[in-house]
Symmetry: C2
């Protein structure tokens, strides 16, 4: 804990929930087959949503909960939708530190706590992704110097450790590997930057079983 | 033009190209049908790519050029892929002010110029979108006070004028309307915030002809 004790509203030992911290995701899965609706509905229904709030609307599915559970759920759903062998894409938005909308202001006392980097079991499904990571303020922890570039480099090193980092490209970083390692790299960047920046988002577009990938 | 004349590298009247400014997009289209590959390839081939650099890889398509031309191209391709009536989703990343990778540093002298808000002809295709807008620094123009929240509110007002704004939701803003107005709102936010923040990105996940939308 590193909350500023001079803040009048800071409790002695607050138990900040994922909801307090604005931790969650939105994702949209696409299955390139006429039977897409059944495949997506089945994948959503089969994934373990314990301890999560999951709300699906016509554009995307909102998932709220701890970093580890949110990532396990995303991996379950995307893997489940991919097991039929069809080409699948998924767009993914991870957000923490801003419970509200596009114009949220950051809230003193809610500085992101150092969550552990989510660890995901291998899926056996190969994925590629274009990944973008956005640190959205520089408030930093009281008494510490914020350094989100340090944390971004740490995230890229972590992606390399997972074997998922391929290269930086225009506007995004290319990741490839087991779906669990690609999601793990995207999530690690989000969590690691969240250690020095309250509001951080991580976007990725994933591609699985693309025919143009197979043709290379 | 508002380049700082004291910068040693600032030419007298530089003609900054979209490439200099890092103006461009990445997008991934998904067509929920077994014939997806032909539909997407045909939509890409039929769209007018005059004055654009377009590179398709297994994850996404990169488009570089002026704001107006990039948006016209995106509207053409997404509308073209949607005309067959299948459920289509598209993930979209607009970026300006950072020609490089995830860890780019902003460059003095490349502060985004005030591009006009792209104007797009109606497509007759109804779209929904979850939209996120990211101002990524607060350098501002020399002699001016940066105020990206002012510009974000202006962007939201513009989305309301287009009739595309529905409401803010967790992590994103819901837009609905003609594809041209939804893309117009996403692009307007990007361009308007680009007037006070050098590096700004705008992400959207679009949904067209969703069966769950039709069932509402």
């Amino acid at each position: 804990m590193s909350l500023n004790p001079t803040l009048p509203s800071a409790p002695a030992a607050p138990a900040l929930t994922p909801e307090d911290l604005g931790v969650g995701a939105r994702f949209t899965i696409a299955v390139m087959d006429g039977d897409f609706a059944r495949i997506i509905v089945d994948a959503l229904a089969a994934a373990d949503s314990t301890d999560l709030v999951v709300v699906t609307d016509p554009v995307s599915t909102l998932v709220r909960g701890s970093e580890q559970r949110v990532l396990e759920y995303l991996s379950d759903v995307i893997a489940g939708a991919s097991r039929g062998g069809h080409h699948v894409t998924a767009s993914l938005l991870l957000s923490r530190g801003c419970p509200g909308e596009v114009t949220c202001s950051t809230t003193p006392g809610l500085l992101a706590e150092a969550a552990a980097v989510p660890v995901l079991p291998a899926t056996g499904i190969r994925a590629s992704a274009h990944w973008s990571l956005y640190p959205l303020d520089d408030t930093g922890r009281p008494g510490e110097t914020p350094d989100h570039l340090r944390d971004i480099y740490e995230a890229i090193d972590y992606a390399k450790e997972l074997g998922a980092y391929v290269r930086g490209e225009h506007y995004a970083t290319l990741l490839e590997g087991d779906l669990a390692d690609v999601l793990g790299a995207v999530a690690a960047g989000w969590v690691l930057v969240g250690r020095s920046v309250q509001h951080v988002t991580s976007h990725a577009t994933l591609s699985i079983a693309s025919p143009s990938e197979a043709a290379r």
